[in-house]
């Protein structure tokens, strides 16, 4: 069968927030752009984001500015963030949000008609632009409609709506193609009919999101199979910070069908409390020393906070996500969990039913419709769920370019921006800021390119053979390999990690890699989910190996990486980044250490010495003192 070929300037893989923003930018800079996505246009995982997009516009509190946002981001990431990215992000987020409004987005408003902003964990001021609790949907729809607007423009100008920007939906990319060192295109298949397609393009932007499908309990959809991470790795790029995975403390655990789906933080913000099977509000037992003076130590004080925030400390249910997740995990492991393996999150005894419905309409709706649980009458059962990976493709902060020429990445698939832990609300703004930068970076890269690279026929043939392999053998059911991988990662490289368990996981992953070589897909090439999963397994296994190997090496606990055997945070480890690359024989992953570049002078001086002292080494602190003296 002849392979369909398309020539483009820029191919964007993924049509979530980052991908669409990148594509819009590259099209606006006059480049012919293809958007390739696994799902239908407009269904990307970005729609799941509830809280909002963090941008220091200062609409609600005028004291807010980019420096405060930068500080909050670095603090949230435990100072492991790529500071240049955090800086760009804080500076540019407001413009990116305002731009959406000019494209038709309708955010909730303040009294004086500006975009309203809400409080969120870790943000000093009200900062999240939002639309109720469906901000992600608004963002994706706005960007989708902006793409359509550009197509309408092209239709008028060129008579062809798809002349400059075209969406290839339900199309999966399985390999990046290269000409020498540089990217030359991508190889993929149409999910709809199983036909192969080759994109010839000098620049590829990865915007494929995360890796949650390697875990059993996850808030992520089936698409999150780490495609971009794996494609980058296979193309020679490096992944950083792969050990840092954010587990959202409150995912639904029951019924099984909705296991992992998020229960928004606002449930706790509005008075919801966590209890174990003995009825105890256990979070009071888990306040870490660094937070002792900021959180209430008695239930009475915690309860007063909801009505009088000025004179009381907040209840420990509102500790950062990683702390709450660990506490829930510990309670369940100690045998004080609910029958279905979570803990109880209760608002029913805390607020009148009408108040719950008014404040938490979508949560009430979600539990009622998905679980047949009335949260005004009974407690919810919740537990940690794999939510977001901080790690990803190592990119240049300003252009989004990876170490492979022509390869760019933005959004969750890129690494560095969020350090070891992401603040709520920073992902939507991250998508917009770095989506645009990656699109611009790709356009600039093309402008400086002397000639278009060409993909070799051998590479295309190899990619085709690889993709067809599962159809050509009658092997193991891919679903069982997938389930085993999910169980392994969930149990052995989950929230709390130990060297022995991680080693065990790595052995299991090795075995699964072999089994994945033998999986077979029955049925034809037309919309065959078994075949699709067989191909996704390679990516999930590669990424899982990265996570496990990096987790084994980092002997400290920080943000989204908690080692039971190394519970403390180490200032020495803060200076080190773990970087994964494909091993020489392409059979696995190797991890190396890399030094974290020191923060620029004008940025580090935005912090107090006392705060820095908690994170950085004596040596770095001495440099800071010298700097301040100058």
């Amino acid at each position: 069968m002849e392979i369909e070929r398309h020539e483009y300037d820029v191919v964007v893989i993924g049509a979530g927030g980052a991908g669409l923003r990148a594509a819009i930018e590259s099209r606006q800079q006059g480049k012919r752009t293809a958007i390739v996505c696994k799902s239908l246009f407009g269904k990307a995982h970005t729609v799941m984001a509830e809280g909002g997009a963090a941008a220091a516009m200062g609409n609600v509190n005028s004291s807010d500015n980019w420096m405060v946002h930068f500080r909050d981001t670095m603090r949230g990431g435990k100072f492991l963030n790529n500071w240049r990215m955090a800086e760009l992000h804080a500076k540019e987020a407001p413009d990116r949000v305002w731009e959406l409004e000019a494209w038709g987005a309708l955010f909730d408003r303040t009294k004086d008609g500006k975009i309203s902003q809400r409080n969120f964990g870790g943000h000093e001021y009200p900062r999240l632009a939002h639309v109720g609790d469906r901000t992600g949907l608004e963002l994706i729809r706005t960007l989708q409609q902006r793409v359509v607007a550009l197509q309408q423009e092209d239709e008028k100008l060129h008579g062809d709506a798809e002349a400059y920007i075209k969406v290839f939906q339900e199309c999966t990319v399985t390999r990046l193609l290269k000409d020498g060192d540089a990217v030359s295109g991508a190889f993929g298949y149409w999910r709809e009919n199983g036909r192969f397609v080759v994109f010839d393009a000098p620049a590829v932007v990865l915007a494929t999101g995360g890796i949650g499908k390697s875990y059993v309990v996850t808030s992520n959809s089936w698409e999150y199979t780490g495609d971009g991470h794996a494609l980058a790795l296979l193309a020679g790029a490096k992944l950083i910070n792969m050990e840092f995975i954010q587990f959202h403390p409150t995912g639904m655990v029951w019924p099984p069908s909705v296991r992992g789906i998020l229960v928004t933080e606002s449930v706790r913000g509005d008075g919801g409390v966590l209890r174990n099977s003995e009825g105890r509000r256990f979070m009071f037992d888990y306040i870490p020393d660094v937070f002792k003076d900021k959180y209430a130590t008695t239930e009475e004080e915690g309860d007063r906070w909801y009505t009088d925030q000025a004179n009381n400390r907040r209840p420990p249910e509102l500790l950062p996500r990683d702390e709450v997740a660990r506490a829930i995990n510990a309670e369940v492991k100690a045998g004080r969990g609910s029958p279905q393996g979570g803990v109880y999150l209760d608002v029913s005894t805390r607020l009148p039913a009408a108040e719950i419905i008014k404040r938490l309409p979508s949560m009430h709706h979600q539990f009622k419709e998905l679980a047949d649980v009335d949260i005004t009458q009974e407690p919810m059962q919740v537990g940690p769920t794999c939510h977001y990976i901080m790690g990803g493709v190592e990119v240049d902060a300003d252009t989004g370019q990876a170490c492979v020429p022509g390869l760019f990445a933005a959004g969750e698939v890129s690494g560095g921006m969020h350090g070891s832990n992401r603040l709520g609300g920073n992902s939507l703004s991250d998508l917009l800021v770095f989506g645009r930068r990656a699109g611009a970076g790709a356009a600039a890269y093309l402008d400086g390119l002397p000639s278009r690279p060409r993909s070799s026929e051998e590479a295309v043939a190899a990619a085709e053979a690889e993709a067809l392999a599962p159809l050509r053998r009658a092997g193991e059911n891919p679903y069982s390999v997938h389930h085993e991988l999910q169980r392994t990662m969930n149990e052995l490289v989950g929230i709390i990690r130990r060297s022995g368990e991680i080693t065990e996981a790595l052995e299991a992953v090795e075995k699964l890699k072999e089994r994945a070589q033998g999986v077979g897909a029955t049925g034809g090439r037309i919309y065959n989910p078994g075949w699709h999963l067989s191909l996704d397994l390679r990516n999930m296994l590669l990424v899982s190996e990265c996570v496990a190997k990096a987790a084994l090496l980092r002997e400290e606990s920080r943000g989204g990486h908690t080692r039971d055997d190394f519970p403390g945070m180490s200032a020495e480890w803060r200076r080190r980044i773990l970087r994964c690359s494909l091993s020489g024989d392409a059979s696995g992953v190797t991890v190396e250490e890399k030094a974290q570049p020191p923060m620029r002078d004008d940025l580090i001086t935005l912090f107090d010495r006392a705060e820095l002292a908690k994170y950085i080494t004596e040596e770095e602190l001495a440099d800071f003192d010298a700097l301040v003296k100058e």
Binding site: N193, R195, G523, G524, R525, I526
Partner: protein, 261 residues
Amino acid sequence: MTQTTVDSPARRQRAQIRERTLRTDQWWRYPLVTFIIFTAFLVYATWAIFDTSYFVSPYNAPFSSPCLATSCPEEARLFGFAPFGDWYTLPPGLLILGLPAGFRFTCYYYRKAYYRGFWLSPPACAVNEPHSKYTGESRFPLILQNVHRYFFYAAIVIGLILAYDAVLALIGKPWGLGTWILVINAVFINLYTLSCHSCRHITAGRLNHFSKHPVRYRAWGFVSKLNAKHQELALISMFTVMGADLYVRLVAKGIINLPFA
């Protein structure tokens, strides 16, 4: 499984399912009940138009009010006024019933109900309709449904007249059962009229900047709340008007003969 080639004509086809619907619930109940209720109403209304016992002091039967001809008793005339004079001898209801009937006929709720119940277009959601062609309200005659708002203006007037009749009854016989039946009917008729989609549009729905018209916005909020109950109000007011009308006629005929009637 046979492998269809990607571009074969079968690929551009909908699922070939022979059943008209695969619904297992009692989807036919709504159109059937609608059909029965509306038919009953039409039969009653036809009878009422030609029935002459439409007045018994101080009650005026709603289906024959206002009376605009000299053929009816003086008390039954609107403000004692008979613009049609004495040449008109047909039933008085015929003169004005077209207005409330037109209002209900073009009402967005009634349209839904009789398109489903009478025209089966569609009989219920996801149940195939029996017609081979469909142009809906895009051309004559159904494009005339767009006149709904003029019937709405007329319905306001009719609603006020029924309220006026109720007030007359209140004055004439404050503790009469018929008085209160007329009052209740007038309330529901007017609530139904106000809950109309056209009313909602005229109040402020047509505006794009509510914030610049705070009074109209508040009125819109009120009408919108009523509008959410448009179907209920349409049905309740249909029963109240039918009930009130029948009651007055039965009293007029002496069939109901109670001291407090």
